[in-house]
């Protein structure tokens, strides 16, 4: 009888302690308009691009692993020195961010693990056209507390893009990746191609947004240009070896770093400029003959 009372006596304070802890750990959501966020966490490479372009360095508390990889991230220079996150809910908990940006953020794996807590989340949509990029820029700029920077960036991009002409002339181009994967319509690549005045081979053949085309079919289709990721210029595995098959040697190539096209970001302008420049060079050669 006495032992049972002793156990209860121990138990009650423990219960109370537990209750206090769980109550204290539930954050009250920070009201969005209460000043600029000071601890911004990005959990997606494409979100990284926008955050790095629009927020102050001191505001950024975490970017993804690939942000510093020059091959995949257009803003890799800016990302150097910033804390890098793995895909870990623990790390996010420890930082206690006041803004989490993802693509999306709310349905991502780390956030599902943190379901009990409520954070300020910004869900960005994948941008498949340049207008959608502008929308994402404005959304991010507002969220990080610098809406004027967003407008300025959009204006700058529009001006630069206006200066790039349509030199494609209706020619057919195919975006060819490792192992013969080809990008189709409704994608950012397709948007770039149409801006250049190029016809996407995938559209011509009625292929889905991502399909595989064998070398034979590519030879038979005979596009005017092949657009490839600059990383595949070097043969490093069988996937890239395929792109260097002699049968494809006759087709002129435009090479664009993946860092400029994998995300809807300000690097879209770099991609457009790069494509235009290479197209112009090919056309000069044709005219010179």
């Amino acid at each position: 009888m006495a032992s049972r009372i002793r156990i209860a006596a121990l138990g009650l304070p423990l219960l109370a302690l537990g209750g206090a802890i769980s109550w204290a750990s539930t954050d009250a959501p920070t009201p969005p308009s209460a000043g600029k966020p000071k601890r911004i966490v990005s959990i997606n490479l494409c979100a990284d691009q926008l955050v790095l372009a629009l927020a102050d360095r001191e505001q950024i508390a975490g970017v993804t692993r690939n942000a510093t990889d020059a091959e995949m991230s257009g803003e890799s220079a800016k990302a150097r020195g910033l804390p890098v996150l793995k895909n870990s809910a623990e790390q996010i908990l420890a930082i206690d961010p006041d803004l989490i940006i993802g693509m999306p953020a709310s349905r991502s794996a780390p956030m599902r693990a943190l379901k009990g807590h409520s954070y300020n989340l910004l869900d960005l949509e994948t941008a498949n056209t340049v207008d959608e990029i502008y929308v994402s820029i404005r959304q991010t700029a507002a969220a990080v507390g610098h809406p004027e920077r967003g407008d300025a960036l959009v204006a700058r991009m529009q001006a630069q893009l206006a200066g790039i002409g349509r030199s494609g002339g209706g020619k057919v181009a195919a975006y060819y990746q490792r192992r013969g994967f080809m990008t189709g319509t409704g994608t950012l690549i397709d948007d770039l191609m149409r801006r250049m005045g190029l016809v996407n081979l995938a559209a011509k053949l009625g292929k889905p947004p991502l399909s595989q085309l064998s070398i034979e079919e590519m030879v038979a289709a005979r596009p005017d240009y092949l657009i490839v990721e600059s990383a595949t210029d070097k043969v490093a595995d069988q996937g890239t070896e395929m792109l260097h098959h002699p049968a494809l040697a006759g087709i002129p190539r435009i090479s664009i770093p993946q860092a400029w096209t994998v995300c809807g970001s300000p690097a879209y302008v770099d991609a457009a400029r790069g494509m235009a420049r290479q197209l112009a060079r090919f056309q000069d050669r044709t005219h010179a003959r």
Partner: protein, 330 residues
């Protein structure tokens, strides 16, 4: 059911020719017969010519060469080891050669010089055969040899997976299936120049010792008493298998069972002596692999089927038939 040797060879060559023609005729792009003939006589349009001469022709040549080498190696190994289940993939040689090739490609060594790839593949094959000798060399029991082969094959397979996962290239790991099951997709003449010298040298070394293999019917003592230098024979066979299989695997990945099936199918049609099945196995292997390569192009799947899948479906029944017939001996 022995048929005369010239008839057998002629029949097998006819089969091989049919397979080769099929390999040229079939592919993802449909080409009319008229266009093909035009391309071969030099008047063809650019597309047909490119497809036939730069894509299908090297692929056909590799199907023939790799198939011939695997068939020959299987026949020679069965003769030497006096074991009807011996062949490069069962003994782990093909997978070890794959490991060498993978090490060359994915760690940047192959970029140093084109010869590095086949050399490392041959080295892998050589090491596995040396290991096999050490583990099961003196044993007369077929079981010991097969077990040693399984050990080596498993180790090499694990090595391939590990190497691809550790490779600095993030896309490398997706290519495991090609290396472990084999594929002739997207090959070019560059691969023909890598493989054919190795296959030629390996084939020559293996064909040299037909007589010694016959003499081994009487056992090692009997063969030596007939004048066979077993040590030299062993070296030639090991080198021949390693070089030939290494060169083949460097361009096609590890394709299994050709060396097992073809000698078994060919043996009842000959006088059953080990030397008599060498050349028929080479020709038969060329035909079988090329037919399998045509099959993977005709079977419509999203990703092209790997060759090793087709040969496995053909080879395992042969394994099982043999197992059931010989069950009492195990």
């Amino acid at each position: 059911m022995t048929i005369s040797r010239p008839l057998l060879i002629a029949g097998l060559i006819a089969l091989t020719l049919a397979a080769a023609i099929g390999s040229i005729l079939f592919g993802p792009v449909h080409l009319s017969l008229a266009r093909m003939i035009a391309a071969f006589t030099g008047h063809g349009d650019r597309i047909a010519t490119t497809i036939l001469l730069e894509l299908r022709l090297p692929r056909m040549l590799l199907g023939l060469g790799v198939g011939a080498m695997l068939g020959l190696a299987g026949a020679a190994l069965q003769g030497y080891l006096r074991n009807p289940l011996a062949e490069p993939s069962v003994l782990g040689t093909s997978n070890a050669a794959s490991l060498g090739a993978v090490a060359a490609l994915y760690f940047g060594l192959a970029a140093l010089h084109p010869v590095v790839l086949p050399v490392l593949a041959v080295l892998g094959a050589l090491l596995s055969l040396a290991g096999l000798s050490a583990l099961a060399g003196r044993s007369e029991s077929p079981l010991t040899l097969i077990l040693a082969g399984i050990a080596i094959a498993t180790l090499a397979t694990a090595g391939v997976s590990l190497a691809l996962n550790l490779s600095p290239n993030p896309f490398a790991a997706m290519e495991i299936m090609t290396w472990l099951l084999g594929s002739l997709e997207n090959r070019s003449f560059e691969h023909v120049w890598i493989a054919y010298p190795c296959i030629a040298i390996g084939g020559l070394l293996l064909l040299w010792d037909g007589r010694a293999l016959d003499a081994l019917t009487l056992g090692e003592d009997g063969a030596q008493a007939l004048g066979v230098d077993l040590r030299r024979t062993r070296i030639r066979l090991l080198l021949g298998t390693a070089i030939g299989v290494g060169g083949a695997v460097a361009v096609s990945g590890a394709i299994g069972f050709i060396g097992l099936i073809v000698p078994h199918l060919v043996r009842p049609l000959t006088d059953r002596s080990p030397s008599a099945i060498l050349i028929p196995s080479a020709i038969g292997g060329a035909a079988l692999l090329t037919f399998a390569d045509v099959a993977v192009r005709l079977i419509d799947t999203r990703n092209e089927l790997k060759l090793g899948v087709v040969t496995a479906f053909l080879g395992v029944p042969v394994f099982l038939i043999h197992l059931m017939r010989e069950r009492r001996l195990w």
